[in-house]
């Protein structure tokens, strides 16, 4: 090939670069390794992590069983190694799966339109707030303090640079629910979005309708955020929301130390042109057969550039496919049974400990610790159990409390160990 180009060496290919930019030494990296060595190195790293521990952490990343079919399908080269489906004729597999994904998200959330995925729940929430600002032509954001603390941090970062003021509304100290009177007082004439998470960060199920009434009375939009998607199998969908922004990690997406996950934004049909990210739509091919393609692309950065609804390009397609397979495997009946098992496990554990809040909860709750949460966790670690998340870091007033999560994977004997540690 060099000969065909009239060149003597590979170096000639870059000889035209300005001499001052060329790197005159080898990169200071270890020499290339074989598959066997690489596998060994990562195996050693994996072993430095917790393995074979029972785990009661939730807080935005949940341990749910991953049906075998999920990886069988998501590891197929045709899904794994294809690009964004811009060329519809040879991408019908991905496009059809995304169309099914969008449909199932609508069915679950009670919304009319869902996008093809966002990076994760936190950025979906931030983008939902920006979307609300475009729709209402207002600037203010009111975020519930019971929204995931890291989600609120992301919203604050996005809002700071978009020059949108953010205020946080309080929770009722007894129930752990949104303090509706406080919310009412904070929503004003310039409020674009009210963001409420349900089940909230404490696991408590919120009154979405009441929040919607408050937001709508002042012309603001209600954004309902979810982090625990399995709850949608049992809880009434947030149909009073204007925008739903969620994290689908619970749907067979591995915890993987925080990512990749898949966020999603769903909304009402009337806001379809303000939704960020990719959308798949139904159409026909020239022979009249049903087909799918990316659509309403004029919202997006590659066409509208500086006027786009968002800068998002790459999303989380493969991860959304995992969620799609998960929803297919569990289906209408299975998802409800799964959610009921989560409910049963968490309530079994909760009955044995002192709960901080009285509000109704799904599979997470806040426990009051008789001694420092870190000390309790240390005791549990010695028994092979990772306990709950100490809350002092995020909520100073809850310094002596931990957030516990039980899922269908939590076993009774481990829950008994947690209850025991929290009793002493």
């Amino acid at each position: 090939m060099l000969a065909a180009l009239g060149l003597n060496s590979l170096e000639d290919l870059v000889a035209h670069l300005p001499p001052e930019v060329l790197l005159r030494r080898p990169l200071d990296l270890p020499p290339g390794k074989s598959e066997y060595e690489i596998s060994g190195w990562f195996r050693a790293r994996a072993e430095e992590n917790a393995s074979a521990y029972a785990c009661f952490l939730g807080a935005g990343a949940y341990r749910h069983y991953r049906p075998v079919l999920v990886d069988v399908i998501a590891s197929r080269g045709e899904f794994l190694t294809s690009y964004t489906p811009y060329q519809a004729e040879i991408s019908q597999g991905t496009l059809t799966a995304i169309f099914e994904f969008q449909t199932m998200i609508c069915q679950l959330t009670g919304m009319e339109v869902a996008n093809a995925s966002m990076y994760d729940g936190s950025t979906a929430a931030a983008e939902a707030a920006l979307m609300a600002a475009r729709i209402t032509r207002r600037r203010g954001i009111v975020a519930a303090r019971t929204l995931h603390p890291e989600y609120r941090e992301v919203i604050r970062t996005y809002a700071r640079f978009a020059q949108m003021p953010v205020t946080e509304s309080a929770y009722e100290p007894a129930s752990g629910n949104l303090d509706l009177a406080d919310l009412e007082a904070r929503v004003g004439e310039d409020t674009a979005a009210v963001l409420v998470q349900s089940p909230n960060f404490f696991g408590v199920v919120e009154d979405v309708r009441a929040a919607a009434e408050i937001a709508h009375r002042r012309g603001a939009l209600l954004v309902v955020v979810f982090t625990e998607a399995v709850s949608l199998g049992l809880l009434a969908p947030p149909a009073d929301a204007d925008i739903v922004a969620g994290e689908l990690q619970s749907f067979a997406i591995p915890p993987s130390y925080g990512g990749p996950y898949a966020g999603v934004i769903a909304t009402r049909e009337q806001h379809i042109r303000q939704i960020p990210g990719r959308l798949v739509g139904e159409t026909r091919d020239t022979r009249g057969r049903r087909a799918y393609c990316l659509t309403l692309a004029t919202r997006e950065q590659h066409i509208r550039r500086e006027k786009a609804t968002s800068n998002i390009c790459t999303n989380q397609a493969l991860v959304a496919l995992m969620a799609t397979v998960f929803m297919t495997v569990y289906g209408k009946e299975g998802l409800r049974h799964l959610a009921e098992q989560n409910l049963a496990k968490a309530h079994y554990l909760a009955r044995r400990v002192s709960r901080r809040f009285s509000g109704p909860f799904f599979n997470e709750f806040v426990a009051v610790c008789p001694r420092a949460p870190e000390a309790i966790n240390q005791t549990l670690l010695e028994k092979g159990v990772i306990g709950g998340l100490p809350l002092g870091r995020f909520y100073p007033e809850l310094d002596g409390c931990m957030l516990l999560c039980a899922t269908e994977m939590s076993r009774r004997e481990h829950m008994d160990l947690v209850a025991e540690a929290l009793a002493s």
């Binding site: 180009l5 870059v14 300005p18 930019v21 790197l23 080898p26 990169l27 990296l29 020499p31 390794k33 050693a44 994996a46 072993e47 430095e48 992590n49 917790a50 341990r63 080269g77 045709e78 794994l80 190694t81 294809s82 690009y83 964004t84 060329q87 519809a88 004729e89 040879i90 597999g93 991905t94 799966a97 869902a114 994760d120 992301v154 640079f161 199920v205 049992l234 591995p254 993987s256 130390y257 990512g259 990749p260 379809i272 026909r284 022979r287 659509t295 550039r305 500086e306 968002s310 800068n311 390009c313 790459t314 999303n315 493969l318 297919t328 289906g331 209408k332 998802l335 098992q341 990772i386």
Partner: protein
């Protein structure tokens, strides 16, 4: 048809919702080992939903066949060359998948104690160090989830630094050849994007920038090599000009596959840059994600990087949240960790020498394609190019055949199309990036297909204009989809 492709039977498959029937199930759950909780009782009746109307109900084999049939309708890098310019569709080594799926990594919870996450933190630290070395930068954040997210983070950093100096300034300059994400990110960071025209050979000129870099300009966002595959020859002087005037140089690292091991952005004056691990570092595109968009910066930006920062404390890795000047978080947790694992495995497999060799092979492949196609297609620039080459459809347009048509016809020859109609500065652009993955055998099949299409455009333009002809789906009506958007399935009237 010859060469790479011929037709074969593919399976039809309705939507999940159309094959569902009540009571079918693919799920299993073990019996509960605790007493059940009555949802209506513990949650309150009005908080419990009715059944999920329309949700699928299929058996396990139906689910498997459904998605396997769908899979068979996709083209993929595993099937052959995917010459999408700017996208760096290279082979995705499966060792990367294997290590990312190790139990101890896959099931690591982001809040598990740091003492039990040392393996994850070590991986992130190793990747940060490798990316800093490859780019010649001082510090790296792995938090951004994709390239555009990295751009946004980088611009936030620039704004935070300039704010700390007293004036964030107002504008960010973006060349007319840039990816659309650049101006979109500029807007989201609270800046106004201003277009920088390219010269005839497709480069930015110092003289133009001399005029444009005013007191109002916060930064220039450059892609280097640019989207024509051309290295910006005046880049070091451009960087000096910006720095003299108190502005910063941002580099979109989408095209790092042309530079790794050859030249380092940090050495030619770049202040902030993002990488696309799903391009340069071989992590799979997955039909549109996940990606990962680390941002590498010069030392002056370190205090502003997103929290948490990975630090070494008492001989262990720890996460530092006490960073008062930080821009804050851009994403929950620490980024797309699973993608980082794959990228690090790729870097380890190559080593420094291997990365350099991969870059040179990528440039060689692009140079070969350019040389062989130049007699048939109009080159977009006379300048030397690196990892990709761009043509215009000017010669074919005379026969009414446009770049989109040539792209669709390429499908019939068994290839994924190149990038169509981008960069915008080339009318009717064909943007080809073969990557180092392709052998001469595959490249020759591609070149021959392109040459045949050039001939068809002259002899039988209608054949090209109506392609593809051999796919199970023919050209789709994108206008109809956009005019009356149907973005979810609904039951047909009259059916249950």
């Amino acid at each position: 048809m010859n060469g790479k492709a011929r037709t074969h039977v593919s399976q039809n498959e309705p939507l999940l919702f159309e094959i569902s029937s009540p009571g079918k199930r693919a799920w299993q759950l073990p019996p509960l080992d605790v007493p059940p909780a009555d949802p209506a009782e513990v949650l309150g009746r009005d908080r419990v939903r009715a059944e999920i109307a329309g949700f699928p109900e299929v058996s396990e084999v139906e689910a498997l066949r459904h998605f396997t049939r769908l899979a068979s309708w996709n083209y993929a890098i595993d099937l052959g060359m995917y010459p999408l310019g700017s996208c760096t569709m290279k082979y995705n080594p499966r060792i990367n998948e294997a290590v990312a799926n190790l139990e101890g990594l896959l099931w690591a919870h982001p809040y598990q104690p740091e003492s039990l996450a040392q393996g994850c933190l070590e991986i992130m630290a190793a990747l940060e160090a490798a990316l800093a070395e490859i780019t010649g930068m001082d510090a790296v954040t792995l938090q951004p989830a994709a390239g555009a997210h990295g751009e946004l983070t980088g611009l936030f950093l620039i704004r935070a630094l300039l704010e700390s100096r007293g004036n964030p300034r107002r504008k960010v300059l973006v060349p007319d050849s840039a990816h659309g994400t650049n101006p979109a990110s500029v807007t989201m960071a609270g800046y106004v994007a201003e277009n920088v025209p390219s010269c005839e050979r497709g480069m930015m000129e110092l003289a133009t920038l001399e005029r444009m870099v005013t007191e109002d300009v916060a930064a220039l966002m450059v892609t280097n090599p640019n989207t024509l595959g051309v290295f910006e020859q005046e880049i070091t002087r451009i960087a000096e000009l910006l720095h003299e005037r108190g502005a910063l140089l941002y580099m979109d690292g989408a095209n790092m596959n042309a530079l790794a091991g050859i030249a380092r952005p940090g050495d030619f004056g770049v202040d902030v840059l993002h990488l696309n691990l799903h391009k340069t570092f071989s992590t799979p595109h997955g039909g549109g994600g996940p990606g990962s968009g680390p941002v590498a910066v010069k030392r002056i930006f370190e205090p502003f990087l997103p929290v948490p920062r990975l630090v070494r404390r008492d001989n262990r890795w720890a996460l530092d949240y006490d960073r008062p000047q930080s821009i804050g978080r851009v994403r929950a947790f620490y980024g797309n960790f699973g993608v980082m694992v794959r990228a690090l495995a790729y870097i380890m497999a190559h080593g420094g020498e291997g990365l350099r060799k991969a870059t040179l092979d990528a440039v060689l492949n692009a140079a070969y394609v350019r040389k062989r196609l130049e007699p048939y297609y109009e080159p977009a620039t006379t300048a030397p190019t690196l990892h990709e080459c761009v043509f215009s459809d000017a010669r074919q347009a005379r026969h009414g055949v446009r770049t989109g048509d040539i792209a669709k016809r390429l499908i019939d020859y068994g290839f994924h199309p190149y990038t169509v109609s981008f960069p915008l500065i080339v009318r009717g652009a064909l943007m080809i990036e073969p990557t180092e993955t392709e052998s001469k055998l595959e490249l020759d099949l591609f070149v021959e297909a392109m040459i045949r299409i050039a001939r068809e455009a002259e002899e039988d333009p209608e054949l090209v204009r109506t392609a593809p002809h051999h796919t199970r789906t023919s050209r789709v009506d994108e206008a109809a989809a956009a005019r009356r958007p149907v973005v979810r399935w609904r039951p047909q009237p009259g059916c249950p």
